[in-house]
């Protein structure tokens, strides 16, 4: 079953060749784990931001979980993202003045949908459960500044996964981790995604992890506007 389906999507920044997108078709099935490969500057982040509804395409159609995002207003897209999508950055994922548990609870406070799934009286229990899965159960009351990079990324994962999202968008979340930690980190996320049938789009310029995924997509292959002359180089 298709969770995400994208058709005839065109996007460009004003006055810039970089990050131009022209994609005929891209789809993600429910629970599917996709490795999206692209060199630096190929428009990976732009693509993720379109999928997250932060940027809106010039034309085309983007349907996620039955909702046509291009027909929504800015505010509606923000609400949609809060309800259905988890986003993990490369690094610096956490609000510095909130504790670990407050960072994880953030989506619950921003989304009615997630709050319905995790009511206030179950919040602590659910957060503890997911923290336990990710091995950060002892860090919940810590300040984010006391955490290592690997721990911070796990907190970010916990925040994106809390409250049953449909789709996780991960923008090179493992690039700051060493190889052993990358695999461990991914397998923890995979487990939770599998249980809850959450789809994952994992973006990276480093192909060493691609064998762990259900499907590998090279952005240059689907993007007709890609700058070909440096394609394939990181």
């Amino acid at each position: 079953m298709e969770l995400l389906s994208l058709n005839q999507l065109k996007f460009s920044y004003p006055n810039s060749e970089r990050g131009r997108l022209d994609i005929e078709r891209f789809h993600v099935n429910t629970g599917e784990k996709i490795f999206l490969f692209g060199p630096s500057g190929s428009g990976k982040t732009t693509f993720l931001e379109i999928l997250a509804g932060v940027l809106s395409p010039a034309s085309g159609s983007l349907i996620i979980d039955g909702t046509e995002l291009t027909k929504l207003s800015h505010t509606q897209r923000d609400a949609f993202r809060a309800d259905k999508i988890g986003y993990i950055f490369q690094s610096f994922n956490l609000i510095p003045y909130l504790t670990v548990i407050e960072n994880i609870a953030l989506p619950l406070n921003l989304s009615h949908e997630r709050r319905k799934l995790v009511p206030k009286n179950q919040e602590l229990q659910k957060i503890q459960a997911i923290a336990l899965r990710l091995g950060i159960q002892d860090l919940l009351d810590h300040k984010t500044s006391e955490l290592s990079v690997g721990q911070q990324q796990r907190v970010a994962a916990a925040r994106s996964l809390i409250g049953h999202p449909k789709l996780i968008l991960a923008d090179e979340p493992t690039s700051a981790l060493d190889f052993d930690h990358r695999e461990k980190f991914l397998s923890l996320i995979f487990d939770i995604c599998k249980e809850q049938a959450i789809s994952l789009i994992f973006v990276s310029h480093d192909r060493s992890l691609q064998s762990l995924f259900d499907r590998v997509v090279a952005l240059a292959d689907i993007n007709k506007a890609a700058v070909k002359n440096n394609g394939g180089l990181a």
Binding site: R81, A82, N93, I95, Y97, L98, P107, L110, R159, D171
Partner: protein
């Protein structure tokens, strides 16, 4: 609600920076309000050097000259008023009371004013403030002298000390001294913050007494001098005074009375309305006022600029945080609220602290300022102008929050990424 919590936690996390910003807003506002209060006080102190007086009467001269030599100890009278004319006007049915002034002599750089009991009873300044004696009695006896607070501070006179009046001068060395007829300090005035503090007060009889044996403007030779002990009030006909203050019965008659005095047949006299002339004079000195205004505005500009820069600096550091909030689904409107709420809160706290600093500093120092500088608070504690300044500060604070907020609404997530924390 979550955004109020976020804003408070964020501020608390940066409490030192936030406090410094609040302090910079507070100090510049406190400075601005102080300058404003000083200006108000200077103007009021000046134009209210004498109050509750309807007319000031002297020999015909310019209105400014008349006010300068009666109220500010500056310059000299061109002529005197005869005692007959003074009495005639004093008995005028519309006149409530008068304060006569007889000038011309001095004491070690200070002016000696001869007056009568009405001065102690009716002379007001800054609205309803009255002349008050710190100790002693009004100078009603022939050889009594009451000294102003500055005179006391400078010359260190005590009750009963002898005071020799110099003839004809108020500044520098006198050629002739009334040293055969010294006065005794009978009272010391409380500070008023006006020229009264720099004067000595004797009775009209005292003024006549030191000149009783003088002939054609020169002191008597030893053999012709009349001993102090032989002089009594009965032997002292008062011939003339220099000027007098006047209060009408109902104030409505003021203008009519002024016209009558200006057209007085027996003698060329002039009556002016002191408040109006003082205001004119202040306006003539408006350079001072303008300088104070400019200083106020510069203080405000500097204060707001420092507030803007520190708010912008703290907000710029936080683009990363905005990107995270956008990623978890916070709409731009909420981020705008977050930033504006923060800068608004900082500004409000700064304004409250600034007002508290200014008011408490002022009330703590009030009596000291009064005593040392003749600086008196007038009018409302917080004026309309103060509210305008505070409102303008708040407005700028909110607008400052809007600048990064507008940036944040355009911010794509990767803009946040480019900031390396």
């Amino acid at each position: 609600m979550i955004f109020v919590t976020l804003a408070l936690k964020s501020l608390w996390n940066r409490k030192l920076t936030a406090f410094l910003t609040i302090a910079s807003v507070a100090l510049s506002l406190a400075l601005l309000l102080s300058v404003e209060r000083t200006q108000r006080s200077a103007q009021e102190g000046f134009t209210q050097s004498v109050s509750q007086v309807d007319l000031l009467v002297g020999a015909r001269t310019g209105p400014l000259n008349l006010i300068l030599y009666t109220v500010f100890n500056m310059g000299n009278a061109s002529n005197n008023i005869s005692w007959e004319s003074y009495h005639d006007l004093k008995k005028h049915p519309t006149v409530a009371w008068t304060i006569p002034y007889s000038l011309g002599d001095g004491h070690r750089g200070f002016r000696v004013v001869a007056t009568d009991e009405n001065f102690y009873e009716h002379y007001h300044f800054r609205g309803d403030k009255k002349i008050e004696l710190r100790e002693g009695q009004p100078a009603l006896g022939i050889w009594d002298v009451v000294i102003g607070s500055d005179v006391e501070a400078k010359l260190k006179y005590k009750m009963g000390d002898p005071v020799v009046v110099a003839h004809g001068v108020t500044r520098g060395e006198a050629i002739q001294m009334h040293d055969d007829k010294p006065f005794r300090v009978s009272g010391i005035l409380k500070p008023t913050g006006t020229a009264i503090d720099q004067s000595l007060y004797i009775s009209l009889y005292g003024m006549e007494a030191i000149h009783i044996d003088w002939q054609t403007g020169a002191a008597p030779t030893k053999d012709k001098a009349i001993p102090q002990s032989e002089i009594t009030k009965e032997k002292l006909p008062i011939h003339q005074i220099t000027a007098f203050f006047l209060r009408t019965q109902t104030r409505i008659e003021t203008l009519q009375l002024q016209r009558d005095i200006n057209n007085y047949k027996d003698e060329p006299l002039m009556a002016i309305i002191p408040g109006a002339t003082l205001s004119d004079l202040w306006r003539g000195l408006s350079q001072i006022e303008r300088v104070l205004k400019v200083i106020s505005l510069m203080v405000m500009a500097v204060g707001l600029a420092s507030m803007v820069s520190s708010l912008l600096a703290s907000l710029n550091e936080r683009r990363r945080e905005m990107a995270i909030l956008r990623a978890v689904g916070a709409p731009p409107s909420k981020i705008t609220f977050l930033l504006v709420f923060e800068s608004g809160l900082i500004t409000v706290l700064g304004i409250l602290l600034g007002l508290a600093i200014e008011l408490s500093g002022f009330f703590i120092l009030e009596s000291w300022l009064e005593e040392k500088f003749g600086f008196y608070s007038v009018g409302a504690v917080v004026t309309f102008t103060d509210f305008i300044y505070m409102g303008a500060t708040l407005l700028v604070g909110i607008l400052v929050g809007l600048i990064p907020a507008i940036q944040a609404t355009r911010l794509a997530l990767k803009d946040g990424l480019s900031v390396r924390v």
